[in-house]
Each structure stands twice: as structure tokens, then as C-alpha cells.
Amino acid sequence: MSRQRDDYEKSWWYRFRKWVDGEMDLLDEGMEIRVPDEMLAAMDGEGQDAARHPAENKEHTFSYDGRGIRYFRRFYQVMSVLLCLSIIFVLLWTVAYLPAFGNAGNPDNNEVSARYIERGLQETGAVNIVTGMILDYRAFDTFGESCVLFIASCCVLVLLRIDAADGNEQARKRLEEANDRLFEPKNDVILQKCACVLVPLILVFGIYIVLNGHLSPGGGFSGGAVLGSGLILYLNAFGFGKTERFFTEKVYRRLTLSALTFYCLAKSYSFFTGANHMESGIPLGMPGRILSSGLILPLNICVGLVVACTMYAFYALFRKGGM
């Protein structure tokens, strides 16, 4: 304390202590506080002052920021274009060496697809081999996929659902603003008449696709999406008042929960018996009948329900922040 060196302020220890305190940077120039010299030279006199005293004049520091960001952005864009072009080029180069299109001797037409085709009907009972494959041979993937849909709907709920139940004034205001349906002309006659004709057709078609998933093209996913779009059309024509009579968030939750639970239990049973080399004991029925192919039909119905509910839920949440 008694004697302080004259050049104490220049010593490393002082700098280190200041830096530990967070008041300056260890690097000499203090990157965040001062502007590099070239940059200063490039600016005019007024800008120079402003850059030296950033705290006093915020707008000018902002312009410096903007310039830095612009340079960075230009550099970033050039680099990204180069990167993207090189990726395209490399992949095209690869395509030139790939097996030829439509050739039966390609490596991917091996014993795997042969067994799916030759014994799929006996082993899964499904006439549509693709459905048999995704719901029986490779069912774990498909279960994961339903979970993707489930978790995506949870994320959308987190983002867009507005809870006014807490009596929070702000939330109620947001809820009112979010429901843009209120501001629209209601009872559009043309839309309603068309919907009267189309909605039943769309729903019946969707149900047909779901139920015939194991016999013809389609299945739970496509049928569910068709059902969901039918519901969305109904909602658009007649408003939330009508749909809320039969489809609220509670219904949505219960439907999704029961469908996914059934899916989970059914598949767990078949995974467990399969891995432990036990018979599953589920009759496969006559191939080609609607009530056949074991678990595939109920699973398709479950998937269809989940997909339809989720698609409708997405739309309703986007529209008014609730169901």
C-alpha cells in the first residue's frame, strides 16, 4: 500500500485483475469496447467520436454494428453458396456411380424384399405388402413415427395454447386477439352448401382408406390425414361453435391417449413374444377379407385416429390458440 509503482496501470497483474473483474479484456484492444483502427479511419470524424464513446451515442454504435454484420453476412453467404454448390456437385458425382435405374439386379432387390413379397401374405396376412411391412416387419419404426407426431403436437401445444383459466388478464386478451375467426364473415352460404356435400364424402373416403389399409393402397397415415382435412373443412364452414360440441381438447387428449396406449400395448406384446420365441396367438384370418391380418387393422385404426386428431389439433391451435 505504501508504494505503488508508477506504471502499475500497465502491468500484467493489473490488467489481469481488471479482466477478472470483467472491466476490460485481456487482449490489449478490448474487443468489445473499442473499434479497430482501420474501421476508425474509414469512418468520418463524427462517426469516430461516436465510436470512441459508445455509451454516449447509441445510434452510431449501432451503425458500426450494422456494418460489421453486413460484412459478416456477405462472407457467410459466399461461403454457404460455395458449400451448397459443392454438396450438390459431390452428390451428383456420386449419382454417376450408383446402380442403374429400374434394374432388377440392383443390390437393394435382395433377399429382404424377396421374403416380404413371397411370404408376406402368409406371415402378416396383409394383401398390401407395404402395409404388412411397416406395421409388422418393421413395426418399431412406425411406432417411433407415431411418437414423432405426438411430440410435435405437444410442442405446438406448448407454443400456441393460451390458458385463460388462471384469470390472467393478459392471457385473456391474447386469447381474444388470437381467435381471428371472430372477425370473419360468418355463415358463408356457398361454403356451407359445398361443405354439406363434401364433408360426408371426404369422411367416408378417409374411413375407407383407413379400414382398407391392408387390402389396398393407403392405411392409417393417409386415411387419417384425409379425415383430418375433412374436419378442417367442416370447421371452416361452420365455425368453432359447431365443432366444439363433439371435439374439445379433452376429447382430443383421451382419443390420442387411448389410441397410442393400445398401439403401445399391442406392439409391446408382439415384440415381447417375438423376441422370446413364443407364439403370438393372434389369428391372421383369410387374406383379402376386411377382418383379417391380425393386429394390422386395429393398429391402422389407431394410427388413423391419432393422425386425424393431430392434424385437426394443429389447425385449431394455429387458428385460435386452443381447441
Partner: protein
């Protein structure tokens, strides 16, 4: 077939089912369910580890009634069991430690959604660890990404929303590359399961066919997973993401999610592409260079940062660089070092995030690290936790970080061409680590100049946080002191991969 062999399947399905069931529970029940499930799955993974060590070999498990090239399959061995156990422990402690903050950060009626994310995150991590099928891996990578995004944006304050969209964009770029890599691989091999795919790759390599596609597949899959795990030039999303999420989410994202992708990459290298092919293809050298760059640049960024949590996030970039350097060495010893560092980092980084939150609590929740001055006295346990974590990252003897640095150095000595750069980068990065972590520790234990310390609330007894900090410290000491058996387990687990 003994009951234990069913455990990997049970743990995945249990975690998924609890996520589905949580959608109708209220926040509190969902929380209890999720904690129970994490504990049970951790126990199961430990049983799997014990079983595999006892029998000395790995096994595959059919998911369905159809054997290998036709049906889905999962596979468990020593390394899978060990990783799953450790991930389960880290996850449990992170959830416990950040519980109070989760309750504060998440809106009341959305609490159960947070625990759905946690459950599905757990199931997807387990599935990534255990899977033996490439397309299953892709589906669960997507679940992992979406759950990660949910965990980030559930705290709808600050910059978490913009961080979430950045995270999603980078992840989607990574997923796209990974998916096209898988498609190319399916095209040239015709298999999606790892075991037959590896045989097909061996046949192709022996016949000298498809040399270009194989090279591109390796590159594209590595780059895709590297983007998702945040290797250096693709790290821009990391600081925002880890810095603004709720503490549990930061700990899980930095400690586990990126590690899940790295584990998948190692698995693909060993079990599909073949380690010799990967080493011969120079891809490892690219990873090595980017790993070294990440080691240095991550530390430099961390030094320039003032916000403590962003500083820790940048340090993650550096640590990911270490792991990729280990992979890039291309030797068995390097791989062991990388896996061990993966464990070290997930234990230590979670400890750092949780204890940093404990320190913020008593210092008035400001971002700037200067506000932490003297916080080590106000919340002694969190201070000790932070110190232990920092010392471990710097490489203080007895702690886990020391062992992993030792492993890196010894494995570098075995590969003559890469010895010099590795050792130099290791030394520089250690010094840089020491600079910024010790600065924080010094700040923690310096006496505040003004009486601001009194103004901030003196440490409320948040016993959950204290408990989890103690557990993390113990975990760290265990990894450091009993490293010998763990390294042996990793070695034998990697041997089971072939």
C-alpha cells in the same frame, strides 16, 4: 432367454409409454412418473451392463417375430449398457436439480408437457444407444431433435424462441444430410440393419465396387451428425440454446443430446461402415482437423464471453472438439479416450450448469458474471460444485477431466503423424480452459466490494439443487478415481462392436 435381456426393450417402451400417459396427468404426477421411469430405466441399464460383463458378449434382440435382415432389432453390449446407465444418472440428477426452476420457468398448465419432453427424450436417447437399425436411428434422431426443441422453447422468456428456431434449422440441415446418406447406403448395400449392412459393405469393399458412393456416404453421414452435435464450424446455435433454456434443459441438451448423436456416429463407424474403411478414407482426418479447431476456438470464444452460462456453452464447443479429435486419431486408444471424454463431459457440464444456477439464485439472477462475486460464500455447496466442475474441465488430478486428458495424450503418442498437433492443441486448450474457468472461480470467492451481497437474497435452502450437486460431485469423483475399470469396460464394449 433370460429376463435381463428384455431390459433394453422394456426401458425404451416404458419411457415412451410414460410420455404418452403424462399427457393426461397434471404437472406434479407427470413429474413423479418421469422421475420413477428415469430411475427404473437406469437400474435396468445397469443390470444389462452387469449381464453383458458377466457373459462377456453382446446380444441382439428381435423387435417382433422376424429375424435379422427382415425385422427391426436392437442390440445391447457392455458399452451400450454403460452409456445408458450414465446417461440415466445424469438425466435424473439434472431433472432433480433444476426442478424448482422448471416450476418457475414453465407456465402452470404446461408443466406436464415439459415432462413429456423429458420422457420422450429419454426414450429416444435409449433407442439411439441400443438401436441396431439405421432407419430406426433416423426416426429417433428426429424425436430427439423435436424433444430438444421443446425443451428449449418451453421457457418462453429471453431469447429462447429465436434460439429454438436456429436450433431447428441447423438440426434439419443435419437430418437432411444424414437421411440422404442413409438412402445412398441403402442403395449400394440393400440393407438397413447394421449387421447385414456391414457384411454387404465388406463384400463391396473387397470387390472394389462403388468406391465413390462409399466415400460420399461416410462424409455425408459424418457431416450430418457433426452438425447436429455442434462440431466447431457449425456451432453457432450452441451458446444461445444452452444459455437461455431452463437449467434442466441446458444440462440435458449439453450433457446428453449431443452425446447421443456422437454415440450413434461411433456406432455407425464401427458397426456399419467398418473402422478400417473409415480410417482409410481420410474422413477421420477431416474430423480431426475440425476437432482441433473446435478445441481452440471454443475456448477463445469462452474467454471473450461475459455471461456465465454462455461461457459454459462455448466451453461445450471446445469439449465436443476434444471428442472429435479422439475419434479423428483413428486408433482404438483414441476412440476409448473419446468415449471416456463423452462420459466426463456429460457429468461435468451438467454439474456446471446446475451449480451455476445455484449461484445465480443467490446473486439476483443477473447475466453478467461480475454479479457472482462472493456467491461462493452465499451458497457454499453450489460454489464447491462449480469449483469441482471447473477443475475437472481444466484437468485437475483425481477428477474425471484429468483422466480423459491423460487418455488423449497417451493415445496421441501412439499415432505418429498426429502426435504433435494433438499434444500442442491439448496444451494450449488446457491453458485457455484454466484461464476462463479459474477466472470464474476467483470471482466466486472474492469478497464483494459493496454490500450488494446483502441485497440479494441469502441462499434459500433449495435442497433438491444441493442434493443433485452433491450427487454430481460424487459421480465426477467416481469417474476420476475408479477410471481403470470404466476404461476397461469401454475397451471391451468397443471390442464387442466389431
Amino acid at each position: 432367454m433370460s429376463m435381463v435381456q428384455n431390459f433394453p426393450f422394456f426401458s425404451i417402451i416404458l419411457a415412451m409409454f410414460s410420455g404418452i400417459a403424462s399427457s393426461v396427468l397434471d404437472g406434479k404426477r407427470a413429474k413423479h412418473l418421469s422421475l420413477c421411469v428415469i430411475a427404473v430405466t437406469t437400474g435396468m441399464s445397469a443390470a444389462v451392463l452387469r449381464f453383458c460383463m458377466k457373459t462377456g458378449e453382446s446380444y441382439t434382440y428381435m423387435m417382433g417375430h422376424f429375424p435379422a435382415p427382415w425385422g427391426n432389432e436392437i442390440r445391447a453390449g457392455a458399452l451400450e449398457g454403460l452409456t445408458a446407465t450414465l446417461f440415466g444418472l445424469v438425466m435424473f440428477f439434472s431433472v432433480v436439480g433444476g426442478m424448482e426452476h422448471t416450476a418457475a420457468d414453465v407456465e402452470g398448465s404446461k408443466q406436464n408437457l415439459f415432462y413429456i419432453m423429458i420422457d420422450l427424450m429419454l426414450s429416444s436417447l435409449l433407442a439411439l444407444i441400443y438401436t441396431n437399425d439405421l432407419f430406426t436411428a433416423y426416426v429417433f434422431v428426429e424425436i430427439n431433435t423435436i424433444a430438444g426443441c421443446g425443451l428449449i422453447m418451453i421457457r418462453q422468456k429471453g431469447r429462447s424462441l429465436s434460439a429454438a428456431i436456429r436450433y431447428m434449422i441447423m438440426s434439419q440441415l443435419g437430418s437432411g444430410l444424414f437421411l440422404i446418406g442413409l438412402s445412398l447406403l441403402y442403395d449400394v448395400t440393400g440393407h438397413l440393419l447394421m449387421t447385414p449392412a456391414k457384411e454387404a459393405v465388406a463384400v463391396i469393399e473387397a470387390a472394389g465396387l462403388y468406391a465413390v458412393p462409399m466415400l460420399v456416404i461416410m462424409a455425408v453421414v459424418s457431416v450430418g451428425l457433426a452438425i447436429k452435435s455442434g462440431l466447431y464450424p457449425f456451432h453457432y446455435w450452441i451458446p444461445d440454446t444452452y444459455g437461455y433454456a431452463t437449467p434442466t434443459a441446458s444440462a440435458i441438451l449439453s450433457g446428453l443430446v449431443s452425446k447421443g448423436y456422437i454415440f450413434l456416429l461411433i456406432k455407425i463407424f464401427y458397426r456399419v461402415l467398418g473402422r478400417e474403411n473409415v480410417i482409410a478414407s481420410e474422413i477421420v482426418n477431416v474430423l480431426f482437423v475440425f476437432g482441433l479447431a473446435g478445441m481452440l476456438m471454443g475456448s477463445v470464444h469462452a474467454i471473450l464471453e461475459k455471461d456465465t452460462r454462455r461461457m459454459i456453452a462455448y466451453s461445450s464447443v471446445a469439449q465436443i472438439g476434444y471428442i472429435y479429435t479422439g475419434i479423428g486419431l483413428g486408433t482404438q486408444a483414441g476412440m476409448v479416450a473419446a468415449v471416456f471424454h463423452m462420459f466426463t463431459h456429460s457429468a461435468t457440464k451438467a454439474l456446471l450448469f446446475i451449480s451455476a444456477v445455484g449461484l445465480y439464485e443467490v446473486s439476483g439472477d443477473r447475466k453478467d458474471f461480475r454479479s457472482l462475486r462472493g456467491a461462493g460464500y452465499r451458497n457454499p455447496l453450489a460454489g464447491i460444485g462449480f469449483t469441482v466442475g471447473s477443475l475437472s474441465m481444466v484437468g485437475f488430478p483425481m477428477l474425471s477431466g484429468f483422466i480423459s486428458k491423460l487418455l488423449f495424450a497417451t493415445s496421441a503418442l501412439q499415432s505418429p503423424h498426429k502426435m504433435l498437433p494433438t499434444v500442442i492443441a491439448l496444451a494450449i486448450s488446457t491453458i485457455l480452459n484454466a484461464v476462463y474457468f479459474l477466472r470464474l472461480v476467483i470471482t466466486l470467492y472474492s469478497i464483494p466490494e459493496t454490500s450488494r451481497g446483502q441485497a440479494a437474497s441469502p441462499g434459500k435452502s433449495n435442497w433438491k439443487l444441493q442434493l443433485s450437486v452433491v450427487c454430481f460431485i460424487l459421480l465426477n469423483l467416481t469417474l476420476g478415481l475408479y477410471s481403470q475399470p470404466i476404461v476397461e469396460w469401454i475397451g471391451s464394449g468397443l471390442a464387442m462392436f466389431d
